[in-house]
């Protein structure tokens, strides 16, 4: 369970990125977070990975206020959460296999486990034959599928996707969304931040609309992209 209570986030230039956010996301939900650029979608996700701390309020994951975590505990939180970004954030000096393996290595996995699990997850995202390719040798869609593979490798309970289709064409965007829905079917909570109307409408699940740092609409079932 993710719970945000009375969240205010103000950036250094006095820009109010989040304004009085109250939100509950249950385990196993698929939530689309929609809104125009600057609405606060990415800021909300960055609070959940403790990239940012709120100026006011609490971000509770399974009842723990993550703003209170020590810097040594933050990596442990991030290993429970998978993250996907618009710019992929792949390690350019590591090949596809090593990019995925890194996320397992940091959680202390044994080499045998890594050698068994990484090919499986690369196969799920259709990148088996690209295992030795470096990110610059992959297309946009392949990079995003690799990022998904990396986010899945440690079987996270929560998956945060920040504009994962922002750099992709329609075909690749649907591939990515189908993958996210499949992941959600296995019980992972998925939070998808996007301003891609087609993607949100195709998913047809809970939709939270944001504007100027506030939640303006929360369609709990069969949500549509409305601004």
């Amino acid at each position: 369970m993710i719970k945000l209570k009375d969240i205010f986030t103000i950036y250094d230039d006095d820009f109010m990125a989040l304004d009085s956010i109250n939100l509950e996301i249950k385990d196993g939900e698929f939530v689309s977070l929609v809104g125009p650029s600057g609405a606060g979608k990415s800021t909300l996700l960055r609070l959940m990975t403790r990239e940012l701390k709120p100026n006011q309020g609490e971000v509770l994951i399974d009842g723990v206020d993550i703003a209170e975590l020590t810097s040594a505990q933050v990596p442990l939180l991030r290993r429970k959460i998978g993250t996907i970004f618009q710019d992929f954030k792949l390690l350019s000096r590591k090949n596809a296999f090593e990019n995925v393996a890194f996320a397992l290595e940091v959680s202390g996995a044994e080499p045998d486990e890594i050698n068994e699990d990484v090919p499986k997850v690369l196969s799920i995202v259709g990148l088996t034959d690209k295992a030795k390719n470096f990110p610059h040798q992959l297309s946009g869609g392949e990079k995003q599928r690799l990022a998904i593979a990396r986010s899945l490798i440690h079987r996270p309970r929560i998956l945060l996707a920040d504009e994962p289709t922002g750099n992709l064409d329609m075909v690749n965007s649907y591939d990515v969304v189908k993958l996210l829905m499949k992941i959600n079917e296995f019980g992972t909570t998925v939070i998808l931040a996007t301003h891609n109307r087609e993607v949100v409408n195709a998913v047809g699940r809970r939709v939270i609309s944001m504007e100027k740092g506030k939640i303006v609409r929360d369609q709990v079932e069969q949500g549509k992209y409305i601004i």
Binding site: T49, E51, S71, A72, P75, L76, L77, R78, R79, T83, K89, L90, L91, S92, R93, F102, A103, E105, V106, S107, E110, P111, R150, S151, H154
Partner: protein, 302 residues
């Protein structure tokens, strides 16, 4: 644990290899820095040899009256040898002094003739005293002045040599202080150059570090391969510096030997090869690892 260490070394080595342009540049600059340190060691060796050569030339002599006995001279010699600041005391008897004088003036017929006409040996017995340190001559003289056998001593030539001794002392101190100062300044510059080079190398990878943090990498998990990479720069830089230093030494050693007789750079650094190479290696690895450690800290705050 062994697997984790193996992973860290593999990862550090892969970073080093895949980042070949940056690794090559950083290693090259570190090799120059280590060569600078090697140059400083040469400079220190040469200056210390010059100083010790000058100090070797300084001594004082105590001349004894003609009516003093050899026992009295030997008593003074033993007293001097018991002093902690005395390095060597050499006894020159009247006969030895005369023999030396004759040898030194063997070609001078007038002196030889004059000596032959003298009934007695006119030269005095003396003790030649070398101090462990040229600053100690004054206290040795003070000791002699207070000696119970002072009355059998004729003169102590310290007072004639005092200006020369002080000059040598001041040159020794000057070379020592300036040498230390120059070494410290150049060493500081070398450390700053290394640190900045490695900082730029790591800055180039700050996005990677941020990503590692975002996927749950702990500080040590991210840091360790960078430290290994820093150490590898040091290892390769030390190898390059050694490969350049010894052939250069072989080339210049004979020329330096001509300019400053008694100094053999190749002899000294050749004899100390197994001390010099590990020292440069440890210095290179330490510079690489410590610079990486400091440089990466600021990028681990995500």
């Amino acid at each position: 644990m062994r697997k984790a260490i193996k992973r860290i070394f593999n990862s550090g080595w892969l970073n080093f290899k895949r980042n070949s342009y940056l690794s090559f540049g950083t290693t090259g600059i570190m090799a120059l820095v280590l060569l600078l340190f090697s140059g400083l060691m040469v400079l220190n060796y040469v200056s210390s040899q010059i100083v010790s050569g000058l100090q070797d030339k300084v001594d004082i002599s105590v001349y004894f009256k003609n009516d003093s006995s050899e026992d009295q001279v030997m008593t003074v010699k033993q007293d001097l040898e018991a002093q902690s600041n005395v390095a060597l005391v050499t006894y020159i008897s009247k006969d030895k002094a005369l023999a030396d004088f004759k040898t030194n003036h063997a070609g001078d017929a007038l002196i030889q003739q004059s000596l032959a006409e003298l009934a007695d040996n006119p030269l005095q017995a003396s003790l030649n005293v070398k101090a462990k340190d040229s600053t100690q001559y004054a206290s040795i003289v003070t000791f002699l002045e207070a000696n119970k056998l002072r009355s059998v001593m004729d003169k102590i030539n310290f007072y004639e040599n005092e200006a020369v001794i002080n000059r040598v002392q001041s040159i020794s101190n000057g070379v020592g202080n300036w040498g230390l100062g120059v070494t410290l300044v150049l060493a500081l510059i070398a450390i700053l150059v290394t640190f900045n080079t490695i900082r730029l190398t790591i800055y180039n990878q700050k996005n990677e570090i941020e990503i590692m943090r975002l996927v749950g990498g702990s500080n040590w998990h991210i840091k360790a391969p960078f430290l290994i990479e820093g150490g590898l720069y040091g290892v390769f830089a030390a190898a390059i510096a050694t490969a350049v230093f010894y052939p250069t030494l072989w080339f210049v050693s004979s020329k330096v030997g001509v300019l400053i007789p008694g100094i053999s750079l190749l002899g000294y650094f050749g004899a100390n090869f197994f001390e010099f190479v590990p020292l440069i290696l440890v210095l290179g690895i330490s510079l690489g690892v410590i610079s990486s450690f400091i440089a990466i800290r600021r990028f681990l705050k995500v």
